[in-house]
């Protein structure tokens, strides 16, 4: 009986929380008549893809591609640089406690404070509206997270394995690339996916630092808002295109989700 009540409550809460996502998805399959019907229709009479084909025809999907390029390259860079740094901290305590706390504290800085000077610098360097400009910033923005997460994962690797490899004549760098990285691959994988999601969802930097050439999909979405002429079909279809990859990533990631979003504070 108690379980039945709990189950009902759980079901209601889950439906409530998923409803906005459901609404977004169904609108993307509706015809204009159904989108702008009063009262609203809760289930499309037929599922049609024209809202998506419009995005392809008008070239709006290029913003998904831009997001993909920027998020993946910056993830790769942040993982490489961040994991190196994390290894030095985990093994040799390089820089001491102050250094690792300083790295983490960088995550506290509000983006609005960073983005203004960076924008003016980028204007001088010609990096506004380029892949490189956005990639550098996202790499830097994600570094504290990667360092902090990878430090936790690397500390779990037993020292003895590395030491025996050193005795066998490996250099430190060989130990890092041939022993440590393969052993830490689940941690690397989990951290990389979160880093990717952060970059994929990021808005403020992209809003400021892109014009048209490398506009990312969240920025493109906000272009559809405005006044009375909301492009509902485009908003919903673009939102779905920008959300499905994230849902797929999370589906593969259930095991690491807790550790990932709590900055390693909770071992999931």
């Amino acid at each position: 009986m108690r379980t039945a009540i709990r189950f009902t409550v759980a079901l209601l809460v889950t439906v409530l929380f998923l409803f906005p996502i459901y609404w977004l998805f169904t609108i993307s399959f509706k015809t204009p008549d159904e989108i702008f019907s009063y009262p609203p229709v809760w289930w499309p009479s037929s599922f049609q893809w024209s809202n998506y084909t419009v995005l392809f025809r008008d070239g709006d999907v290029v913003t998904i591609w831009n997001s993909l390029v920027v998020a993946s390259v910056s993830t790769a860079a942040a993982m490489l640089i961040g994991t190196m740094c994390a290894y030095a901290i985990a093994r040799f305590r390089t820089g001491g406690d102050h250094f690792s706390i300083w790295v983490l504290s960088q995550r506290m800085v509000p983006p609005i404070v960073v983005v203004f000077p960076i924008f003016l610098l980028y204007v001088k360097l010609g990096l506004v509206d380029t892949y490189l400009g956005l990639i550098i910033l996202y790499t830097a923005f994600n570094l504290p997270y990667v360092v902090w997460m990878m430090r936790g994962y690397l500390q779990e690797i037993p020292r003895e394995i590395e030491e025996s490899a050193l005795v066998d004549g490996c250099t430190r760098l060989q130990v890092f690339t041939k022993i440590v990285l393969p052993l830490a691959r689940t941690g690397l994988f989990a951290t990389a996916v979160f880093t990717f999601v952060f970059a994929w969802n990021e808005f403020l930097f992209a809003l400021v630092l892109t014009r048209s050439a490398v506009t990312t999909f969240p920025v493109q979405l906000t272009h559809y808002f405005g006044g009375q002429s909301n492009f509902w079909a485009k908003i919903s279809a673009m939102s779905v295109l920008g959300t499905v990859p994230i849902f797929l990533a999370v589906a593969f990631l259930q095991r690491y989700l807790v550790r990932g979003i709590s900055l390693g504070a909770v071992k999931g």
């Binding site: 609108i27 570094l143 430190r172 809003l207 906000t222």
Partner: protein, 294 residues
Amino acid sequence: MTQQNVHRHDRRFGYAMIAPAVAIILFIGLFPLIWTLLVSVQNISLIDEDTSFQGLLNYQRLMSDTRFWEALGHTLLFTAVALPLELILGLALALLFLEELPGRPVFVALLVLPTVISPIVAGAAWRLLFDNRFGPINQVISWVAGEPVTILWLNDPNFVYAAILIAEVWQWTPFMFLLLFASLTNVDPSLGEAARIDGAGFWRTLWSITLPVIRPVIVIALLIRGLDLFRIFDVIWALTKGGPGTRTETISIYAYVQGFQQFETSYTAAMAFVIIVILTILVMAALKRVEIAR
């Protein structure tokens, strides 16, 4: 190699490994800070490239800028309402799922989804839901009321805060839920059972046994969310852009407007610096409270 040589070698290796990270973090961490300080005491704007020393001119102007202080007030209001709401709702959900339940892993996996989507997508979804004519929210309210109700959620000053808070709490309650749920499942159940045998009720056990055990996780979750709320930009930008008027403008949005729409370079720099100072004070105070309470 002697022991000492090995150590020296390792130390050099360590510095080489952190060098790229340090360079990049200095680029986003230190350069903007120094630049901000320097420019904030000059007088650069769209019409004037005055790089002479102006002292605290911009800071004085900021002190008497009611729009800035209102924006700070809005930011703190959002934080003060959303943070406890997310914590309490997240905790309630975590307790709901704590005992075994059919299909529990599926529920948990689904409930997490709002947290991982882009805040702009979240804002887009709620824009569609809140639409006064074609959105389902007014429709449901009309059913309940038994007569057509038209609430202008995003334009009516009486409702716009509720609208933004609903979207915000919807997106981040699952975050709290996930962290609290994970840490609660790690708590040894015999602790609670022992308390219950001693005659403690559900609430007493929760308050005196369970919550103190997961306190560190609660602190971390509040810290992460508190910092995010202090910089809140995306979801409000997607829903209202700070409107109607400047009613929902936060410090991040106001700084964006001054910097990128009014091109008040020096003034924005002063504002950015004050934001950092306020943030530092708030974080210090929060951490101190945590230490004292411990």
